[in-house]
Structure formats: structure tokens, C-alpha cells
Symmetry: C2
Subunit: 195 residues, 2 copies
DNA sequence: TTGACAAGCGAACGGACGTTCACTACGCTA
DNA sequence: TAGCGTAGTGAACGTCCGTTCGCTTGTCAA
């Protein structure tokens, strides 16, 4: 009975379901969804998908998608040729956008960039910075700092006189805190949207 | 008992859990996670979070996060002052990163940028471009084009002689197709990761 | 200081859940 | 064409799930 390996098709349906509802349904409902009449067929399917690395059991033994379930392929930029369809072969890597940018939701926040003081670092007005809240940073990190009671995003640097906030734009001068310099968080990602 | 409204804190823990495991745990496990000894307390919490719009019941009555569960606030960059905690008031907007960048998963793909030909547009080597597959584009769009059998990301322009692909880097020349120029897709977003 | 309210506790309950197992149907390959 | 492997069926079963309800604890306003 049945064709060889419809699992890919089944997976696609589960991905669609998850995209709609952000949870995987019970085995009975998966059955309905995929046109299976028995839960044991679903159970077998789940075993196969688990082996293939698309789903797994969460700590409390609930069925959950793996990271791989969400991954989107990253195509290589200058694959020399090939049809768009053949481009699949050239796929090199993959990632889930949310996972990639925001591993710990509760400690990260998004900040909309104002101004062009970081322009030379490819950070433009209107871009969104992903900031991970923490008070320690390394030299060279881009940090969201509170300096003299004002928020600013700059590279953290140091010279003989102490810490300095370095803009990436020749028209701006390095910033030295007059009173206080606090690291609010470290920039871990950048998001830009073209309409 | 307890402080007024720890729900925000509870929500944060659930968000972290979901980020780790991509599913919500059973009421008993939520209880452990949040330090509650009874499932009825969890049940009450779930009702509150449902009212607040952060979770909902999926079609087969499973607890599932809503889109709002994933939304991240966008803080305004130069909020003039205020404590980090008070920054909440200055939150202006919010978005879910995946939703924001990739509204139609099936027609978009991610492309890793190679080279510096778009540097002046803030698109650097190693960045990831979100490309929406379509064959029509407007002048001024950044497009992923197949020109003479090679992929390239450039601005789409036109002059007296026809269509031109414009780099954003003074060291590069505009590209004119010798044989064929095909639009593979339009760039709708940019993702960059700092480690 | 009293009452109301919100939040949590703990136990009991019925039902839905995923597992298991024996059986069947189909498509390879020998 | 016999045999094997893969996919699915259907029913039985025990477990864990979320609900419910009466009770307790702490906070706040009157």
C-alpha cells in the first residue's frame, strides 16, 4: 500500500499546521490532517520523523518540532550558474531566523536606530538592532550604552583616559562619559526591511 | 498571597521555555517551572494569559502561543532618559521577527552575501539577504538577478540603453547583461549577526 | 479591623492521549 | 510468484492531562 516515502509531504503539512497554530496537534488530529485512519500509523510516522531529526520529544514527553523543523535554507550568493530549481543543490547552510537572532527572548530587545552615526558599519537610520541585555561587554562590541542619561549605540573602545564610545562615521567624535557610562546591552544582530 | 501581577514574569519564563523546546509544557510542568505547587494555579494563570492574548487553545484544544506571544517590542533609540525599567513606557512598536521578515515562507529564501559590491548600501560580506522570489521588480529595488548565467545582487536601474544593475560601491561598474538578464527575486530584508 | 479580592493549594474525577499488538495491503526483488 | 519489508488498520489498555471545587493565605481599601 502507499507510495514510497510520502513523509516529506506529511512533514510539509505539519509545518503548515504549526505555522498556523504554533503547536503540533494530537496523534488523532495528525491522522485526520494527513488522511490516516489510525493513530498507530501516526506513531510510526513520528518515529520516522524523529529519526530524520524533524521532531523530538520535549523534556516532558510532548511532541515538539526541532530547530531543523523550522530551518530555512541559505543559498550561496554566487553559485556560478544553474537553473533556479537546480539552485537547491547549491544550498550550503540553513537557519531559523528567530532562533538565529534571538536565542533568549526574555533578555533581548529590539531597538530602532535613529541617526547615521554608525553608518560606516552598515547600520543605518531605521534599521533595527537586536540587543542582548547585559552589563558586561568586550572592547570592540557594539553596545547600547546609557551615557549621561541618554541611550546611544556605539562601539565600545578604550584609550589611556578610559572607556570611549566610538561612532562609525567620520563626521562624529568619540563620546566620553561626563558623568556616567553604563552598558545597557550588547548588539547581537541587525534587521533591515525593504519595502 | 503573592505579589500583585507576577504574570509578566511568568510569561517571560514560558517564552524562554518555548524558545528552547518549541512547545508549551503540561500544566504540571508549568507549575514546576514557575514554582507553583498546584495545577489549578496554572489553570488560572492560563486563563489570564489567554485573556491578555498571549496564549490560546488550538483547534484541538491544545495550549498554544499566539502571534503576540512572539512579538518583541521595539524600543525607541534615543529615548531621552529614564531608567532601563522605565524604558517600557517608551516602547513604540513591536514585531515578530520571523513574521516581519518572512511573511510568505514558501516564496522567500535566504541568501548569504559575498563580496562588497553593495557596501555603500550597508550590505556587507556575510550578511544574509531575504529574497522574495518573483520576476517583476521596480526600478530602485535591490534585486537578485541572473545575468549571463551568474547570480548577483544589485539595484535595478535603467538608462537609454536599457536595464542596468547598479552596484553600491564606487570601485565597481554598473553591469549590463551581455546575453540575458533575469530577475530571480527582490530583496525584502537584511539580517546580520554579530557574535 | 473587617471584608473583599486575587492567587495559590491539594485532592478527586472523567476523559483524551499515545502505546502496543495482531493483522492486512501493497510493492519491491529474487 | 514467493517472500520480505514498509505503511497502514483497528481495538484494547493504562497513564497522565486539565478541570473542578472547597479551602487557605496575603494585600488593599474602607
Amino acid at each position: 500500500m502507499g507510495n514510497p516515502n510520502r513523509d516529506h509531504e506529511y512533514l510539509a503539512k505539519l509545518q503548515d499546521y504549526f505555522a498556523s497554530y504554533r503547536s503540533l496537534p494530537s496523534y488523532a488530529v495528525i491522522g485526520e490532517l494527513l488522511g490516516m485512519a489510525s493513530k498507530s500509523a501516526v506513531s510510526a510516522l513520528v518515529k520516522r520523523l524523529t529519526l530524520a531529526g524533524f521532531v523530538e520529544m520535549s523534556p516532558d514527553k510532548r511532541l515538539a518540532p526541532t530547530k531543523r523543523f523550522f530551518e530555512r535554507e541559505i543559498a550561496d550568493f554566487n553559485v556560478p550558474a544553474g537553473l533556479p530549481a537546480a539552485a537547491n543543490d547549491a544550498m550550503s547552510d540553513s537557519l531559523s531566523v528567530d532562533e538565529f537572532l534571538i536565542p533568549r527572548p526574555s533578555t533581548s530587545l529590539l531597538v530602532r536606530i535613529k541617526g547615521d552615526s554608525m553608518m560606516d558599519a552598515g547600520i543605518f537610520d531605521g534599521d533595527i538592532a537586536v540587543i542582548e541585555k547585559r552589563h558586561a561587554a568586550n572592547l570592540g562590541d557594539f553596545v547600547l550604552a546609557i551615557v549621561d542619561n541618554e541611550y546611544t549605540l556605539k562601539e565600545l573602545g578604550r584609550d589611556k583616559q578610559g572607556y570611549v564610545l566610538l561612532p562609525h562615521n567620520r563626521d562624529y567624535q568619540p563620546i566620553r562619559a561626563e558623568q556616567s557610562l553604563e552598558i545597557f546591552g550588547v548588539m547581537t544582530g541587525l534587521i533591515r526591511k525593504y519595502r
